[in-house]
Symmetry: C2
Subunit: 325 residues, 2 copies
């Protein structure tokens, strides 16, 4: 069923059908009514692809993530998806598995699909490509991870402040030997969390012991490794700040492995563990706000798609808050 078939059935021209479909131009009430009848009768659905071609608008948005099974990213995405659906856009999801090559292929693929906008939590491995996508007129919004070299719209959380608070919290509880389990420093979130933590220590007048800085990579395994490292020190830390939830999980697995009671160590985790409410141990968490992030991105996205140009803005919209155990 095409618009031509409907036109023939209704005894009018395709132009009239199009006008009815899009409520554009003038069409007499009687004709309009009749056309709608015919449309209903044949259960006609306009072809969005043809429409896209004609209007040179795909009404699609690409979203490229390092891990589609990560609830944090998916809570953000879900919110964006709802907003997009409302506005008649659809999302093309791509999973890079944190691999720059896959990211590059995904971007190429999406360009051929003529996405109107790109939402991206980048691996950081394709910055020139990303810049050129933006230059060629596709709206780009960076998600979660910042790349200051890029001068693109960015929506992220205020990692630095939150990390600083985490340390202040531990200092307040009289900890002096505080271990830091960091993420990969090429990713802005990890970098900023580390920076915030270091500032926090400095403000508390605590000297930074290199032994207590463990460079992890956001994986569970590196949490385990951090604990192995800390507990072979002469004086293990009495508290630990972990830069993400996966590593926090690893920290507890590590303690378990070493036979250390899980509440022997006070922990603050950037990003909550779902089950922390069942835990009786001394685990506090910085609660992230994926939904707020998703809303901000959705809002900005629609604004950009509707032609609101303006300067690229680097928004750190949420200050994640610390939930004591």
């Amino acid at each position: 069923m095409t618009i031509k078939d409907i036109a023939r059935e209704a005894g009018v021209s395709t132009a009239t059908i199009s006008r009815v479909l899009n409520s554009s131009g003038y069409v007499s009430p009687e004709v309009k009514h009749h056309v709608q009848e015919v449309i209903r009768k044949f259960n006609y659905q306009p072809n969005a692809i043809a429409r896209s071609l004609k209007q040179e608008k795909s009404r699609s948005v690409g979203i490229v993530l390092p891990d589609m099974a990560n609830p944090y990213f998916m809570r953000i995405s879900r919110t964006i998806q709802h907003r997009c659906f409302q506005e008649g856009y659809h999302l093309l999801f791509m999973d890079t598995e944190e691999n720059p090559e896959k990211e590059s292929e995904a971007l190429q693929f999406l360009l051929e699909k003529r996405i109107e906008a790109l939402i991206l939590a980048s691996t950081g491995g394709n910055l020139e490509q990303i810049q050129s996508i933006s230059d060629s007129g596709t709206h780009v919004i960076l998600l979660d991870r910042r790349f200051p070299d890029l001068a693109l719209d960015t929506v992220s959380e205020d990692n630095r402040s939150a990390a600083k608070c985490a340390i202040a919290y531990l200092v307040d509880k009289h900890h002096e030997r505080i271990g830091l389990v960091n993420g990969p420093q090429t990713i802005s979130t990890a970098h900023e969390r580390r920076e915030g933590a270091l500032i926090g220590l400095e403000e508390a007048g605590i000297a930074i012991a290199p032994d207590l800085l463990y460079e992890g990579d956001y994986t569970r395994e590196s949490g385990i490794a951090a604990i192995r490292h800390f507990y072979q020190l002469e004086k293990p830390p009495t508290a630990v700040f972990s830069a993400n939830n996966e590593m926090t999980f690893g920290i507890y697995l590590g303690l378990q492995e070493l036979g250390v009671p899980l509440d022997a160590l006070e922990v603050v985790s950037f990003g909550d563990l779902e089950f922390s409410s069942l835990f009786t141990h001394r685990l506090s968490a910085i609660k992230q706000q994926p939904q707020a992030l998703g809303e901000a991105i959705g809002e900005l996205l629609i604004q950009r798609l509707n032609g609101g140009v303006g300067e690229a803005r680097d928004q750190q919209i949420v200050i994640p808050s610390l939930i004591p155990f």
Copy 2:
């Protein structure tokens, strides 16, 4: 940049460009080489929308889920997405929030986008619409939840067998008062798990006490409610089979609320809780296999898209396995 521009730049016709792009028809090595040069030089990317219109193939697949932030569904989806990407297809995700009306709108939306196939974990509220989508030629694959009325391709897990095993496991440990926390019986997974559990009890010669059957709805809250119910009985159960992980979580929250030690109750959960390895309590889980499901769906999908018609098959591909605590 369109194919015409490239043709002009290369001094050949659009047909030749098209032939080079698609490696179809004959084109002399020199011309081919030259054309490729020009394409590279101008960084030309063919317009997938125009191609779709002409070929009457959108190369897109719709995937409709009750919850995009649920890691179980997303692990399945991620696997499917990878397979689709390999084959040049892209996925359009829709989140229904378990709401039949949203599901219906989402299906309508996807039809206008001319998806070639639909993957669906349905709410069950739009069965006629789904059947008509299949009838009109769009491949449909039902995911996770079965609807025997529909005679459509279905890929799910063998809930019945797994639930039966769970009960056998508890019986083996000499439990005689076993509580059942069920899911919403309109969803096949819940229905089948309940059925399997009842068969297990029957085979063990244990009479089914109505007091020990709690009808929940797959939410955390109903897990809590189940515990409140069980612990007001004269003789609470000594073990519980929980039909999904959210309710299992609720069960522990409920125990915590009542001040009952978490290891006072032996629990088998359909679907693992991520943190169960940190738990010292008597929690066993039936481990689901989202990746295997995703692979099976991806395989079937590509087969259908490539014209493999054949009978609709109802595959229960995985027998989830029980992991003792």
